[in-house]
Symmetry: C2
Subunit: 598 residues, 2 copies
């Protein structure tokens, strides 16, 4: 597999020229995150990902995690890589300084996470899920729970896992059956099985803090009767040292399409009636705690899609530049040529590149909104950014993960026959990234969340504000040859987004299913509109820097071309999407279920 | 994995009500192919595929073909299944009756092939490649060669393989280096290596007839210096019995993303300087012979995409009907509901269904055009159909294979987390079908062929005729509530196709690369237009039959809904495609290759 090179220059551009991370680093809390620190973190993370994590990507695919009598053993090299990862401080980038974290902005941590994921997606899931657990404990734990767990989890000494799904309770979490019965001493006995538990067991850390959703006796049905519990793999003594083994075990691993290096566990709690859990947060408030874990996880899954997509771009470009085959029509030097000179190959590469950059900017804007929503001193700014983050999260998750899959497939295509054999490594990207549209809420669930929950929030205040910003920005684009086409296409996209959002709002009052029928294309429409806007912002910034005589001529010129390509080739898909969305649900249910197949 | 049920009723509808196979069966050559025979062939094929081939699909995936000291051994059960396949006459459906074939139309054989492929894609490649070899020998072989090989190949006693690709010669076949030196006795010594040879060796048949492209001494460079050779695995004695082992061997198998049951061989010819080949056709005319093999192979690969897509539809529908999860908004009965009641899941299923049916109709129209082009008594009709088949072949290959991949991915998505674990089998479809857009000429090559060769043929006569037919048909659609939306969207699509084709024709005279930059979206645009037209034809036929009181109410009603869904949700993508196509190549090459990645 080709080396992965972290796109640090690109990421700095997104953070500084596109989403303006300075608004975040201006906050007192982040005063240490100077430009130099940002650059240094990105460079060091890129180096670590390239040198340590990337070489293990194919290793983990070939020899996945294994279930042994002593529990799950990670793929060769993963334990050592994890130790280095923790030692170098990568588990603690955004961690709360009160518990030993570095307290850097989530925006920067998210940028680092893209590199980690692109280098080794299977590996990256362990820190991602630990982060989810940390956030839950931080938000809902007692002072004592925080004292026991957080420092060790932030330092990477202990890991975390999230235990939600059961065989009959996937998307419908409320159907779960795992039980938590009071033991009389304030603790609970947990019994039940969870499936699809990512990194549910492993040998990377000395302990694993499982967060488990379960029902206390007599709880109401559905999501209202769910509580959250801390179930450590090893019990913890009062002095913080490890006690006995808790009755929480991985009993089998899934045989999966991809991410073989990430153990997907069936977890059994209380098989020997001796699983001890500690309630976290209030009884019956487990869903709220779960959403704390899940929201950032959704952004992270979108970022995973971007990471896969970046890796696909690098592999496809390298292959296309090396592969000599035939003569390219329109080439200025005599052939044979590398296939990168063929127009259709270039179409594929530019499609991957431009959608990757659009989705990256989207996820980083989302992360920035989360930082401001949490830490800005002004309540109005916090609220506005909370609303923006709520709106963007389903977009990040679904658009990021969808383009990850689409671009991996395009990159396989660029490889031709070599894309279908496993040795080149692009097939692994194609397999690995396919999980992203599924987990942490399928993309259909994201679309439902967008249309059903996020659009109506506060009377539609947040989407109106976002589209107003985009519309106003678009109007300010110069009427030059360079920007006119982009401007026209973006204006169409903004208009289509507004029209469709208004249509959906009306439908919500009449026939919710009519609105939901178009939810997936609407999510795509809005994502492409936001993506096009952010690329256009970057292009305008690049033009300004070029006009000011900036030295990075080629790089900045490429930003403009990429934004224009996206506007010209991707943004027009919004025309068809608008038509699809506003067609409603009539034909969706026109055929009885049993007539859908022979 | 869910059972595969051959869509026989659907296929009969396509053949009789959509593409009018009666025009083919009216020909004297096909007088035996009565409606009853067609029905019986489809039913029997469907039964065989379901009972024999489909159960081996997962078997072949888990235990792929193996290379042993005695050559390649197929997956467990494949040899017995193949024997039954041949015994039941499935290898000889379209075979020339002069050599023991049943002489049925290619259109019918193509319908059968879809079932075989959907049931077991890896298996289906063996008969497909044998068919290619048969066609080449039939078209270019001497009477003696035909006498030696054809009967045994058509009966399935011997297999065939096609040996084109070499490490440096994939799409650019002209770069191949395999040598053929005259032995002095009319035969040739072949030396060289071929890669990616599908079913290049196996134990299903007692002999394998390799067709090998090679260069004779002093041949001109490029495609003009290539000749075609018959290289049997076992030499053939004068009485037709098998002689000694020829020096043509599989020396390794590829480790692939999918179709593990289909051995993809590296073939070594003349490693011991003792590989005997027999020239077929004239010296230096190997490319013509290759295109004979390849044209039908391209249609078959498109059909493979349709087959994968049908299987994906069946698996996703079955899963969605069984999987109870949450409450579906807009459902008329209280929940919990099967996920098939959710609008977004229904969108995915209807998308798979409608695109599968569109692509199926396209491939069958293509097959029909090939039948008429070969066998119609009227020269003008033959010419017109030859032109139509030439035009449709890249569409069948690329659209069929692309929707195969897209729909397999959608079907994985419908399965949620269960789609990512291998046990449900949908992941296998996703992996297997990914080869279709690549082999037999990548889809980029198909798009180039469409724009560069097929559009300009005879001054654009064929595409103009096709779009004229579609336009006229569209005009005749009734202005009823049922058909109006479909009619409007189809008229837009026809107009977009015409406008883009005209634009491309102009560009071809000015800047060919400008035309080629939009070749892939143009191929998609034209495919969707033709697909929408064929579904509309079916819908109109269904409406007529319903009005006449036909008993198959639900089935016919479903045809109309499916055509309308396609017109409403898929056809509008042509709006964006038109915009992409006419944007030209300017931005494709705006970034120097080395700036595409960090």
């Amino acid at each position: 597999m080709a080396d992965y090179i972290a796109p640090t220059r690109e990421m700095k551009f997104v953070l500084k020229d596109v989403i303006d991370i300075a608004e975040v680093t201006a906050l007192g809390r982040f005063q240490d995150a100077s430009d130099d620190i940002i650059d240094a973190v990105l460079e060091e993370a890129g180096k670590f990902c390239r040198e340590v994590l990337s070489p293990l990507n194919a290793v983990g695919d070939k020899q996945g995690a294994q279930l042994t009598a002593d529990g799950v053993v990670a793929s060769p090299g993963f334990k050592e890589a994890y130790q280095a990862y923790a030692d170098n401080g990568w588990t603690s980038v955004c961690g709360d300084p009160a518990y030993g974290g570095q307290g850097l902005p989530l925006t920067l941590g998210s940028a680092v996470y893209e590199f980690v994921d692109a280098a080794n997606m299977a590996f990256s899931l362990q820190p991602m899920l630990t982060t989810g657990a940390i956030e839950s404990i931080l938000a809902h734990g007692t002072a004592e729970q925080k004292a026991i767990y957080l420092e060790k989890m932030i330092s990477g000494q202990w890991g975390g896992s999230m235990n939600l799904t059961e065989p009959g309770a996937g998307t419908d979490v409320g159907a779960l059956k795992t039980k938590a019965e009071p033991a009389g001493d304030g603790t609970y006995h947990i019994t039940g099985q969870k499936i699809f538990i990512t990194w549910g067991d492993h040998d990377l850390t000395e302990n694993i803090v499982h967060l488990v959703l379960a029902r206390t006796p007599g709880s109401p049905e559905g999501t209202k009767g769910i509580s959250l519990f801390i179930v450590p793999k090893y019990l913890v003594n009062e002095d913080g040292s490890l006690g006995g083994r808790n009755d929480a075990k991985c009993i089998s691993l899934e045989h999966k399409l991809g991410i073989h290096g990430s153990p997907t566990c069936v977890m059994a709690f209380g098989e020997e009636s001796d699983c001890i859990g500690y309630m976290i947060g209030a009884e019956h408030k487990g869903m709220a705690a779960m959403f704390t874990m899940m929201n950032n996880a959704r952004l992270n899954v979108g970022i995973q899609g971007v990471g896969s997509s970046e890796r696909a771009l690098q592999m496809a470009t390298t292959f296309a530049a090396d592969r000599i085959q035939g003569k390219a029509i329109g080439a200025t030097v005599p052939g044979p040529h590398a296939i990168i000179e063929h127009a259709d190959v270039r179409r594929m590469l530019m499609t991957i590149k431009s959608t990757t950059e659009a989705a990256r900017a989207l996820t980083m804007l989302n992360a920035k909104a989360l930082d401001l929503a949490e830490h800005h001193p002004d309540e109005d700014v916090r609220q506005a950014n909370k609303g923006l983050a709520d709106l963007l999260t389903p977009l990040s998750k679904a658009y990021g993960s969808d383009i990850g899959v689409e671009n991996a497939s395009l990159a396989v295509q660029v490889h031709g026959g070599m894309g279908f054999v496993e040795e080149t490594g692009i097939a692994q990207v194609y397999r690995d990234t396919r999980i992203n549209p599924i987990y942490e809420g399928t993309n259909g669930v994201q679309a439902m969340d967008l249309v059903g929950r996020k659009l109506p929030m506060q009377g539609g205040r947040f989407w109106r504000a976002l589209l107003k910003d985009i519309g106003e920005f678009t109007t300010t684009l110069p009427d030059t040859d360079e920007f006119t086409g982009l401007k026209v296409n973006m204006q169409q996209a903004v208009a289509a987004s507004e029209e469709c959002a208004e249509w959906i709002v009306v439908q919500q009052g009449v026939n919710m299913r009519n609105a939901l029928a178009g939810s997936s294309p609407f999510l795509r429409l809005l994502s492409v509109t936001v993506g096009g806007y952010l690329l256009a912002k970057g292009a305008l910034a690049a033009r300004t820097r070029l006009d000011e005589g900036d030295e990075e001529q080629d790089f900045l010129q490429a930003k403009i071309i990429t934004a224009r390509f996206y506007a010209e080739q991707i943004v027009p898909t919004t025309l068809g999407l608008k038509s699809s969305i506003m067609a409603g649900d009539e034909l969706f249910f026109g055929i009885p279920s049993e007539q859908l197949t022979p």
